[in-house]
Symmetry: C2
Subunit: 449 residues, 2 copies
């Protein structure tokens, strides 16, 4: 029987867990097991359908494994015998482990809509050949309907519309697209950018039926309206892929994620760890269960899991949740809590907002107006979240905000933040919007009201 | 006699000091005195000569003063009577103050080179009409020689070369351009980009004479070589503009900067403050005097000075020094200490380095290879500095590093950093180079060697 010190089951976060383990324990033999031949960059999947032009341009190179001394077995794990510490593989022999890591990710949720099983109705599976087929259909399509106006839905819409001669429609059940992710004013801006790109958006609407013969032909909305569709994309979210763990009698938690502690150890078995979309998460802010699924969170958890396999090194302080997206060339993103989420949790907050061109002078080429919103606890001034929209630098500005959150900086700390600036790269030092948003929050914080 | 609660003398940081004061003390009357009619964005000055096309496109709008209720007096302060708390103006009546802020900036250093007084030899003065004239000469020039390969020199070179038919040469006395600012490997990359753009660089060379009749015609180097020049730009640095303060018997410190405490108060007079290039600075890292002159530091100091005028609010924890530049479309920058500076101070450090495309996949449009170097104290793992080069997001990545420095994060903290990522905006979460550079530093830090 083949033996390894560490066996990792899964994709993206599995690679990072393996690299982290090898860094901390270079003498251990690490094997990664996954059924996919070629693994895709998950956040890049929507861009297959427009900007990058195909799944072959969105691949995570296996060289990363090789250069880190991690053996790859392309096979499906069908069961785990925890007593014997053995994994049964579909095509290969059994595999004995000392430590096991679940990095099995998530699977798309298939909504319970009549007709959802018809041809050309596609959930977003992270599989190379499958997405190649979806791309072929998207390229032939005249009418694409996307069910769900969250991130995946909106990114698919913005990419699919780049194919010539296609009409793209998004159907969102909430009053705004991206409502779970962003505050109203940013959702509003994002929808305008999407509409400017020619995408039709239905809100406060549900798809109640998907119709056609074998192939989808139209979708029917709760309002009674019918929309032509030769392709339907299901973008309504994902659920932890935890079946194998459950079958091995490993305890599951919130939303059926594999239940882990702060060291990324399962609650059930001290030799079994989990990381990424397949496991439970807690909020950095209040410790409550979090449904966030982000590749950046998954890899951060993977670094912790890999380091802790043989000796505790790191602990997980919980999900801050930092993300960005691009809609019709404008970037949007949030780090930490939105105002909506904070208020829903009964938190008292103070908001500071500022705008500035992301160059100085604003007449530099490719200058884009940046908008930043920061939120602080009313009683202690500690930053709870920030949102930004703007140009290419928006992604890293959210990371500035994330750094401030992770060290619990106050509005006063951020007023004194020593940013670097450059005419072509950032806002001016007078107008730098992260600092100016904090300045605007300081006085309401220290006031007597 | 005209009276004001607060009189501010100066330019860029004066505006920020005024805004900060008005925010904290909305009932106080604030007057800004400066002799310049139109004030320029200082960091944008090199870009007048290429990208933005003229000083009229690089102006700080006076509307900022108006909208913040700050009165502007365009006049020159000729003396300060500290006992009577009166400023004598050149053209207007006297001005009485309760609190006074020096934000008088810096003046270019004129090197002691024979011929430096000739026509068409230009120090970089921050004056509108003067720079308009320099631009006219630059546009007519066939051969431009820039003395000094620091930031200003290199940025001028990269912009001047964008004018058709001109030959641009930089003369640097050190073994590398930008040597004070960056470590060797980044200097080397920067010089290559400059050379690719057609700029000729002389290193380990000094200009010993500037020759010509009235107009400059050539410069002679210490090696004996002579270079044709119809325009010479002097980019060898600036010195605090502290003459007026000195004449008012206010104590000066390092490099003749106005000596201030952590509250930005002068040592001499509790009602007189100073901020920006005109005052002394201390390093965040060891409290030693710092010669750094950056608009971002000046505005941070101005926010502190303005807030502290009537009651202590903030204190200055010292200069981190964060900057970025662009050379031939590649961005370079440093936050905190360079390896060279740390070692010169006898610090024992551990370095971590990582590279990755600034998009994921790397095949996204406009993807640029990012390079990040982080430096940590060997004994405590606390971050001391970071350098980056790459594309448009480099400026904000340096601000991520600055946030990490300001809260004294360790390499272990940064390993766990929850960055947000997006295919078009950032590196992949597996490869995010700030985190990966920290990962590489962690083991040498915790090792026994």
């Amino acid at each position: 029987m083949k033996k390894a010190d560490v066996v990792i089951l899964g994709g993206l976060s599995g690679i990072t867990a393996g690299i982290s383990c090898q860094r901390h324990y270079p003498d251990k033999k690490v094997v990664l097991v996954r059924k996919e031949g070629t693994i895709l960059i998950p956040c890049g999947i929507p861009y297959i359908f427009g900007t990058v032009g195909g799944p072959e341009n969105n691949v995570i190179p296996d060289g990363l494994l090789e250069s880190n001394g991690i053996e790859l077995i392309k096979d499906e794990a069908v069961s785990v015998d925890r007593e014997k510490k053995i994994i049964n593989l579909k095509n290969h022999e059994q595999l004995q482990y000392d430590k096991l890591v679940f990095a099995t990710g998530s699977l798309p949720i298939i909504p319970d809509i009549p007709g959802v099983e018809k041809e050309n109705v596609f959930p977003v599976r992270k599989e190379f050949d499958y997405l190649r087929d979806v791309l072929d259909k998207v390229r032939e399509a005249k009418n694409i309907v996307i069910i769900g106006g969250g991130f995946i839905g909106v990114e698919f819409a913005d990419e699919c519309r780049k194919n010539p001669g296609v009409k793209v429609t998004v159907v969102e059940m909430q009053e705004y697209c991206l409502k779970i992710a962003m505050d109203d004013e940013f959702c509003d801006d994002a929808e305008k950018k999407l509409a400017e790109a020619g995408v039709k958006i239905y809100k406060n609407e549900q798809v109640i039926a998907i119709r056609g013969n074998d192939n989808v032909e139209e979708v029917e909305l709760s309002s009674g309206e019918k929309i032509k569709a030769d392709v339907v994309i299901l973008g309504i979210g994902s659920a932890p892929n935890s079946t194998l763990a459950e079958e091995a009698r490993i305890e599951l938690g919130y939303r059926n994620g594999i239940k882990v502690d702060r060291f990324m150890r399962t609650f059930t078995d001290k030799d079994i760890f989990a990381c990424g979309d397949c496991c439970t998460k807690e909020s950095f802010f209040d410790g409550k269960p979090s449904a966030v699924m982000l590749a950046s969170v998954a890899t951060a958890e993977a670094r912790i899991a890999g380091a802790n396999l043989f000796s505790p090194v790191h602990h997980n302080s919980g999900v801050i949740s930092v993300f960005a997206t691009i809609i019709n060339d404008r970037a949007f993103g949030v780090a930490g809590l939105t105002e909506r989420a904070a208020k829903a949790n009964g938190m008292q907050v103070v908001i500071g907002e500022a705008s500035a061109p992301d160059t100085h002078p604003g007449g530099m080429p490719n200058s884009t107006m940046l908008k930043v919103k920061l939120m602080f606890g009313k009683n202690n001034g500690i930053i709870l979240g920030g949102a930004a929209s703007g140009g290419k630098s928006t992604g890293e500005m959210l990371n500035v905000i994330s750094a401030c959150i992770s060290h619990r900086m106050t509005a006063n700390d951020i007023v004194l933040f020593q940013m670097g600036t450059h005419p072509a790269l950032t806002s001016s030092p007078i107008a730098y919007p992260i600092v100016n948003a904090a300045c605007k929050a300081v006085l309401p914080l220290s006031g007597s009201d």
